[in-house]
Symmetry: C2
Subunit: 188 residues, 2 copies
DNA sequence: CATACAATTATAAATTTGTCAAATCAGAAA
DNA sequence: TTTCTGATTTGACAAATTTATAATTGTATG
């Protein structure tokens, strides 16, 4: 996966997720043992919807992971995060330190809006934004190589479940071509 | 220093401070070398006032320290913070996990508003709040022991520069008594 | 002391967050 | 299938955050 997310925003998201008393409490509660939403809502004396909101913030930041268990959506801590030091977490690669040209800034903004942890949250309705997003995804294909629909789907599935729309989008926008049932990425 | 700050809010403040792209950038810039506000404003292409706002958020969170150098207020990183792991930083003492009774909640709220990193930001104008704040500060004195004005000042100076107002407040509110030039804390 | 420079504070506007209630969804169980 | 239970989404609204401009404060230099 390539240049899809601005590391800067991603980092900020992590810290922001932890920057709220309720969410810190949630993390601490889940740390003692994995828990589901309703349990937390009761303990914290908040609405289930509110807890859900906070949980998704934490999950999007990569701090929590969820798995289904019967009725319940059980959240647990992503242990891998815990060992990192502030020093490591704070660090932003040199390349990101200057916001860059306005053009790139807009591109980053769009990518940051629609991608979360490498996955496409939603396919942009606006052409201009869809274009930017698809351009970023098409990088995953080698140019001038034939892919079966199967293979195309497999790659696209990493980004979004609605692979059909993505596939169609690629053709519409002119990033890929189809011929004789095979797909190939156009060289830019 | 005692129960003055809710560790929970304090932690959240730390993370919240880092939870913004501009502030992360600032931290990274300052990390390479200490810098002053205007310099950062230029690099980041933001108003000086805006940078000032972000800097104070970072300073209040304990991440930055400032020292004057001629005209300039030079900010540098508090190195001590950097080594801590997320695991350590996230941890909230057991006692804080339950929000507590409403009565205490109000008290915490007031204390959190007026204290920052153990220092009093401002002496509350409202009596009720001043009372809460002073009560918390008076804990630093042993009851039934005589203190000279000098000694009183020395303790109070840890909390706020305007020691005179604090001293007077203590008497007004009835937390301390003065007699023959000596001060003593009343047993509650 | 007046002027210049940097920093902070005050104010205001725009944006984002946090919360709840109501509606919708999704998986299990009857 | 219908129903039950927990989870998520949506809409609304209050609260907070972010940012800019203008005013103020604080140092230092001529």
């Amino acid at each position: 996966m390539s240049n899809i997310e601005s590391g800067l925003e991603e980092r900020a998201r992590l810290f922001k997720a932890l920057g709220h008393p309720v969410r810190l409490l949630i993390v601490n509660l889940i740390r003692t043992k994995p828990r589901h939403g309703e349990e937390l809502a009761t303990i914290l004396n908040l609405q289930a919807a509110t807890v859900s909101y906070h949980l998704s913030a934490l999950a999007e930041a990569g701090l929590l992971q969820a798995h289904k268990d019967q009725y319940y959506q059980v959240y647990s801590l992503v242990e891998a995060m815990l060992g990192q030091t502030l020093s490591e977490l704070i660090h932003v690669p040199q390349s990101e330190k200057t916001p860059g040209v306005a053009e790139d800034a807009y591109r980053s903004k769009v990518l940051n809006t629609f991608f979360r942890r490498g996955r496409l949250i939603q396919i942009p309705a606006q052409l201009k934004k869809r274009q930017i997003v698809l351009e970023s995804i098409v990088q995953e294909f080698e140019p001038e190589r034939d892919y079966s629909e199967q293979q195309v789907n497999q790659v696209l599935l990493e980004f979004h479940d609605d692979v059909a729309s993505l596939r169609r989008g690629m053709i519409d926008v002119g990033l890929m071509t189809r011929g004789g049932g095979m797909y190939r990425r156009k060289m830019s």
